[in-house]
Symmetry: D3
């Protein structure tokens, strides 16, 4: 029995991310085998003894060509199953990007509540813990999972990144829609604490007059300020682009945008060519594989979350406070 | 075995509500015993045979003097336990007001996620189904519960109530904060369909300039219109009062407010004396026992949800669609 | 992971009891927040990091004005839920008085078997262990709970208390009814071992002749002896008073009464004014808040169980034998 | 799906009992196969289609030569498993005698709480319901089982049997020890209702004076009366024999003894040769296979419980009240 | 509540199969929505009311280009979840081809036991029943699943197909390896019963002499006979081709091959061009999409299993015997 | 809490086996009580403190006169229950012979899948792990159990035993039927590695010509070789005897037979008197109590598995690899 040592696996495309966590944690990546069969099935298993260990499995559950979200999810589930069968003492799924986090409620009749199903599937293979980063709907997430969870936030990384950018300039933190106001406010407060002065807040919203969407309102003042648009994820980039346009029209001096997860589907590449946007900042939870690398180089900054995840793993293992880590 | 007949119980303060459901459903309230002991414990049991029946237990989980929320919750749990032990085929908890629905996430470190705990407690006594009305956070609710749930909305009742009030006047549906925009939009669309013309939408939000709350923005135009402020619940009434004041300042002609659940704590009575508010509309999910009956009579309209609940029970029992009921 | 340190919380009215356990154990009480909201809901959460710890939560589940049994039970349940969510390694509910222990069977048709429901509720929030003291029906308790349990007895404390009182006098241990004979016999044997001589035993029972309760029989001889009436709990005190009266009539020289739990409802205060009763001994599982402090001072002795509980916690944590503790 | 028809199986030695239930219920015994292999394993399976049926399996869990209690229990468990695998809609274990009902608590340190384990084993094979008769400790039983249970009592059969025996004579119902006082009192009340006059009650108990068992006290008056000693089960018969002797010494005119379950181990045959005992009455929950048939014929009456069980099955299937059946 | 009507859904590529079942059952396919999002997630939901229904969901879990096995599995899981959330009374997953049935044990250290994980995932979304056809390892399957299962066999279809082919000729049923001997023997016996005369049996196996595979042994006589090689599934076809070659060399007159599931990966197309093989017979559990349609037309016969599945559904719903269906 | 020390119990007839494990492990057997009652029930409990320990319970689940398989199974289940109730940190059932491992599938309609039921019963009493040796059907076993399992093989012991016996002679490993080919092949490969040269393989099978069993084929060459017939268990010995006879007829020089489990029912004693068989080798998983000791002495070798089990326990406790132990 005993407490068991930390052991770290990284599945499939999460290998590079896993190497960064491994380096930050000072624990080598353990070896596993992932075989694909011609009939479409796969086999996945640890190649090292895991008995009694405190195992962390890194998998980032975004889709990509050749490896669908569902495929990644199944591989994670079967690997956790194999780890537990092989007597791992505790298995924590480390998920920088959690899939189906936006399928968190019935928006139409008889919709699946997929967030909950994902939680139950993870439980079904005896996953002990889940560690995530900036989940889309925190309340849905915290209610869906009955195994232990820890939730990290990139907020601190964004603050450290933007504080020097803003410097002494007047700044305003902008939520691109009402749904993100709480999230933006949390960033605004942290940035204010870091800069030791109150930063302004604003948000955008479509509104209707006599049933017609009559415009994009900007609530709060952006004129003459450095605007930092903040969101949890970027899908087609449409929301961010509208916000950039609205801020520019209302006289923002410089416009940054930041989001934890860069999914970049559809014509999200427009973000990189929009002259109104000075720089776009995301984290490495999803590699920006759908963007042209050259275009990305000039406009995109990718913040590293691996050290944060490594420190969280250290505390989960050792009993340290995750609260203090995020404070 | 067999399918079993519908049987209806109403616990404690839910008796009056239960009588209305009973009348609408054409099924008499079944008899139970609730005894309180001097040492603070209680005993609760059905006095009729429940074997093989499709039992519905009505309890509205709001607090009131002499019967705390926790007390009501425990009585419900123990009664469901007794029903299942007595071989009820299926037990549905009918909860016009679900407690702890706002304790739906960790807002501070190590907060309880009470919504999930309530779900687990109901499961622990083998509750088969839960039927609720306008739960605060639908995503949290739908993820927390693993037994079957049905969720009713008072939206249709509000539409039926306000359509004749508005008549041919210009109207605007107002959300008193950004969190309620989705809910208000749903009402606005339904009202528009009912009136066969598009009704305007608007919402309020505090905003900050250089770190100071610099005002209450009204996004959307209310001037010259009948404003209907809509929210899911009224606690101290402060949010509604601020919205009334903002609508009045911006030139709304008549101002109504509506909310599914009237909790009315603190100085919520101010709502009834505010001359800016023409009428306040709530449902009977919580009786307005904290308001002065005379003051309430002049300003407060309480819509009946019991017929809606009765119809839902009929469909749950008979296999009819709840979706169609709400459509 | 790791074994984790002992951490001690005491909820609500159990604070004083918790302080005594804390002192005996040499572990400070950890800090938590308990907030009551105007609408009757509450929030409860640990204010300290609990990750990986071996947490003990003290709550004594008796009712008192302003804090019903059901209310205390819910607070305990939600606090355990919050502790487990916050990654406490193990949570033990320490319950000097377990509620609903007398609702242990169906005495009437369709009665709730509340003891079992309480067990299931504790399981539903992932309570790992339960530690109790002199539960009313041990068989019901041991069958109801499927998480680990430890059961302490005040027997040893009573023996230590009464041995010097009895001294060289002839003594008799009296059960006030047939239901308590086993319990009294256990005390009689322990007292005999302590005094190194056999103490007599007796018990009372109502009996019927031709269908009429024709009297209170005292089985066994009390004449000329120091009588110690022993029971598990005192509710209205009626049972004890009848036993005192019967012992006095049959010539007992001095009459003591002892019970683990002093609930004292109804006119239990009569116990303190009955001249036939020399002294009443209870434990601190329930503070005698319903008795007049002055009257209590002259007649009531309250034995401390906190050191016993502290030692049990030490052994539960360290793997020591609870059996040996009670031997 | 559908409700399903009643289907009745009787395992091993319960075949004769099953035939009586079958006759009373008007449902033929379904056919199953029970094969024993030389290596000590067995195979048991239904030979008829059980899909969708409401299946009742009769097994009486007493030990007998060639078929131990544990063996019977396992056969029951595996047969229930096979029935559920074969898509029986609902399986009720009908257990006129429930094994390990006296292993209901820890009497010594680290004792098994076997009653609870039996409950969990039955659950583990997906038993839907359990139907029993006069379980030793009802509170333990009701707390141990989490599947649905129904509990029958032979009380009514004893009343019907003894009412004509007593006729106009004075009678007294005697509990042979304090543990059985509640059970005897229940019989006394029912007999009084049946005879339309109050029957007397009494009980026996050993007592001690100065630490020595100084005798068997009879609490209540038996002189000149027809004594009916009542207990839940007869093991070695020692308890009954002591009671018979005490009643005789105290002047009872005629002495009957009755118990639901006749186990008759050790020198229980003495019961049949004791001249003080007029007649011994048991039920057919356990056939008196350990007694000499000739001796039994003269002294033993065996009451049929099969019709009661058949009626209970009819009501469990059809939704009728078991409460009313026992009232 | 009530029994509920049969309702039939067919997911994705199983649509054609579903239409055949629908036609045979006389129940129309119910309508559902399957939406794919650009980020790789999907949403799936029933578009019709399912409340109280006895729902059957057809999905055949083989991989194909554009729809991996894992993807299909997840869609099935999430759809079952949505059906149960929408109050379907019972959901049966109908899986003509069950994925990961060959990952049924650890062949290497720390291998996943994927069959078991698949069972647990289906349970995790509350699947009530699973209906499959010729699962690879029946013992593994029957132990892995704890929900109810029914297992169909194509044996009868093969018998009906081959009986007229064989006619009065001498025939021999050949298992291509020792692992399939039991399966082939079952077919041989059924074919013998159908032809009213005993058909011969044979099997192949590689054997070794001094550690070298020295040949393919044919155990049993094939000379001058019509050989029917039978297996459960065809993957690359290598096993079948070796058997064809061995039978030809040993003088079989005509050689047929039959297998329930035609996966056809690698160079399985060789099967169609091998002149030694007269005809290859499979079922429609997997459409032969990897084979050239023209080549398939000349050599491949695909037997319809949909009528068998339809009849099984009818019996599962109505309580009929599946055993009799397969007898 | 803490990791806990290894503690070893051996139940009933497993005592001798337990003593050998104890000696090899250097951990004394802990003391327990096993009492049988006249009514056929039993009580079993640990007599030592087990709190927080890593407890291993040895029981070999074969039947023997006076202690049926079902009886042993129940004793194991109840003892595990008592250990967990007494706060053992982890309980591993050590089962050199697992019962009902051949009841691993439905061979006839509605057969029990007893392997799965046994798994569920062990789970029902909270068994944490199961350690077995050469289970009959590994796939069935690995799918049935959801608690952790470890599976040992006697393969290595057989190799060590036979390598010197074979010496420089030509040898052939013979499977007595097709079902055992995989197992025999595993032994053949290990023996080849040990002897540093390829050993031949062969197997037997009945075959049919025109529906008549026309003989026992030996696939592979045995002439002039030392034949080692290998199987997992010996029941009546018929299979082995047929194999001995076939090998002798085909000219094997010396014939050994080996099996992990010697059940020896029916006329298995013939094995010892068959002159064709040089020596029979089994392990001590089942003592050969049904064989005549004198006859056994001359022909039977019993290999000790206790040291292997002891080493496995050491590694399960300390986190070592079982894979490496068997490699």
């Amino acid at each position: 029995m005993g407490a068991g040592a930390v052991q770290l696996f990284a599945l499939g495309e999460a290998r590079r991310y896993g190497e960064k966590v491994s380096a930050a944690l000072g624990v080598p990546l353990a070896v596993h085998e992932e075989r694909n069969f011609e009939d479409g099935e796969h086999k996945i298993r640890p190649l090292q003894n895991v008995r009694g260990n405190d195992v962390f499995v890194i998998q980032s559950l975004y889709g990509e060509p050749g490896s669908s979200v569902n495929d990644k999810l199944c591989r994670l589930l079967f690997f956790v199953g194999a780890l537990k069968d092989a007597s791992a003492e505790r298995v924590t799924a480390v998920l920088p990007y959690l899939c189906y986090a936006r399928k968190d409620r019935k928006t139409k009749s008889r919709d699946p509540v997929t967030t909950r199903y994902v939680a139950r599937l993870l439980e079904a293979v005896d996953t002990d813990r889940v560690l995530t980063l900036d989940v889309h709907n925190l309340a849905a997430f915290e209610n869906a999972f009955r195994c232990r969870t820890d939730h990290l936030e990139a907020n601190g990384l964004f603050v450290e990144h933007f504080a020097p950018q803003v410097g002494d300039a007047e700044a305003v933190v902008v939520s691109p829609d009402v749904g993100g106001v709480k999230r933006a406010e949390q960033f605004r407060q942290a940035l204010s604490r870091r800069l030791k002065r109150e930063v302004a807040g604003a948000f955008l919203e479509k509104y209707r007059s006599a049933g017609v969407v009559s415009g994009e309102a900007v609530v709060g003042d952006v004129r003459g300020r450095v605007a930092i648009i903040i969101d949890d994820l970027i899908s087609t980039g449409g929301t961010i682009l509208r916000a950039v346009s609205a801020c520019r029209q209302r006289g923002a001096t410089t416009i940054y945008a930041a989001a934890s997860h860069g999914i970049f589907v559809g014509d999200a590449a427009r973000l990189l060519s929009d002259p109104g946007l000075t720089r776009l900042v995301i984290t490495d939870s999803i590699p920006p594989f759908r963007l042209d690398p050259d275009a990305a180089r000039t406009k995109l900054t990718v913040l590293e979350t691996a050290p944060l995840v490594a420190e969280a793993i250290r505390r989960i293992h050792g009993g340290g406070s995750i609260v203090d880590l995020l404070a």
